[in-house]
Symmetry: C2
């Protein structure tokens, strides 16, 4: 980790960290199966080097929202609509991660039967990294899709009103020997710290396309689920409120198109073509989506999960407050 | 049309233009039903103001490829694989437009039965605007998806080898009174005329995300269909060769998630929220995807299809060569 030189990191044992996070959530009233899912998703983000969506999130957001009663520890999750190829769940303002994982699992089951299926979840909360859910499809030889709308923080192209969330889109596609293709990206970016659509303000670098993708995500999540969308979602300065986030999931069986083994062998060729292509000046590698995260996850699994010093301290304080043992080594 | 002041345009009667294009293709050996589809797709592009994919394309590409025998006028189209939710077609190096339209129609039929379906086409040629096919889903209260890979013209992030095509992605989603949301965009852009991933070179404006989307499209089209992908596709300087382009289509029934009428009413609210949001300095409107094209199509349907002078001359010359009457008024 290059960052380790400039920022204070400590290394946690993966299983100990998962155990602690799950235990803390149980102590806050979350059911054990849900707590286990949250811990798995958060630590997966830290393993993949996406620390903003890792255990840092537990203390800064999830615990606070549970304690303040803004988010429900034991939600009533309802099936709103269901067909052989679709499912809509109402998360009942519970944690986003467990309902998201279960929705994606249902979508995968339906896809196994029907060939492809989609699902949406409404009245939910932050679900961590979208890629986690998309990647659940990989072992089933399916293409996985996951997305979520989010708290508003950026303007649309030619606009100045804050109407767009980071609205990430994730696609996971299996390969044979190569790591899977995992494209997991926010449809906004930060220009000198100011949120803008992917492609930037204006249209010169394609900002209108990024804005279009962000709005697409809000439609697929918020409008399609019958949940909140557009300015019905909270803005960056709004006080904490019940979860109005919506998610969208999909799974497509590869063998509906061609033999999955042949497809995955060709995926190796495709990914290597890009990775082995000639670099531009000042760069020594061309990456494919998901490759850096896969490398980080392999490294961190072996050496330990890097946890920022301030986050470590926050977890330690949480342990004391909840009367839990704290040993992440 | 603001452009009309600077570039020489002539106005064609829509039906006369469609009739002429279809007649020219029939004269070149294309079956009548195929010719009618090509004409409809090309003129639809001109109506929507996307002239690079309009009738200009007929003379510059399609006619030349047919005459040179590079592309087949009467292709043998084969069903490679089919399930209740998927279909793969081999286009037999015929025109892209007819096989693409028929593939999308099959996907819509399957989606009507199953709730959602996808299709792919391989060994095809240029299919015009992706949005045309995605929009076929609209009248069925479905979300339409269309995509294609393309001749390589851009490098990946951190790379200098030309490995990425323009690889457009299109999503069409119906509204009630508002024009539909039609996001139809190349995953590359031109920076001072030099092709780059959406977001630009480097990662500052999200270029790695645009690159990821371009690669995603190449996978969904080329690898999933069992067609050509990556550097198997021709580069910008390669001689004309049989069609190796692949397409990807999808359709999702809205009522698998919620009542379609309620969804479309909410789509009006969503789209108006963005359109009515406050503008940034120097701009007097915030647009939503597909809005400008919809306005142009309405205007051009009423006033005539603008055809660039040089294209008009090319069509006139083609008429003379084929011994066809030429009256587009």
């Amino acid at each position: 980790m290059a960052e380790a030189a400039t920022v204070d990191y400590r290394l946690a044992n993966e299983r100990a960290l998962v155990r602690f996070v799950a235990g803390a959530l149980r102590a806050l009233g979350v059911e054990a199966p849900d707590a286990a899912i949250v811990a798995d998703v958060l630590v997966a983000a830290d393993l993949r080097g996406i620390e903003a969506h890792g255990v840092a999130r537990l203390v800064s957001q999830d615990v606070r929202r549970l304690r303040d009663g803004v988010m429900v520890a034991k939600p009533v999750v309802a099936v709103v609509r269901e067909t052989p190829t679709s499912i809509v769940l109402d998360a009942g303002n519970g944690l986003g991660y467990p309902v998201a994982k279960r929705a994606m699992e249902r979508v995968i089951e339906k896809s196994r039967e029907a060939g492809t299926a989609f699902g949406a979840v409404r009245n939910a909360n932050h679900f961590g990294i979208a890629g986690y859910y998309a990647m659940l499809a990989l072992e089933h030889d399916m293409i996985g899709i996951a997305s979520t709308n989010a708290v508003r923080h950026a303007p649309p192209t030619f606009g100045r009103e804050i109407v767009l969330g980071a609205n990430p889109l994730a696609f996971a596609i299996p390969a044979q020997h190569e790591p899977p293709f995992v494209l997991d990206f926010a449809t906004t970016i930060g220009i000198d710290g100011v949120p803008a659509p992917l492609g930037g303000f204006g249209i010169e670098s394609g900002g209108h396309k990024g804005y279009g993708l962000g709005l697409l995500v809000d439609i697929l999540c918020g409008v399609l689920s019958g949940g909140a969308f557009g300015t019905q979602l909270p803005g960056p300065d709004d006080p904490p409120q019940p979860g109005k986030i919506s998610h969208f999931f999909g799974a497509i069986r590869i063998d509906g198109f061609r033999d999955a083994a042949q497809f995955k062998a060709d995926m190796d060729v495709e990914l290597r073509t890009f990775k082995d292509s000639r670099t531009s000046a000042g760069h020594d590698r061309v990456y494919v989506a998901g490759e850096i995260e896969d490398e980080k996850a392999r490294f961190n699994r072996e050496h330990g999960v890097p946890v920022r010093g301030a986050v470590w301290t926050g977890l330690e304080r949480l342990a004391a407050e909840l009367g839990l043992p704290f040993d992440l080594a």
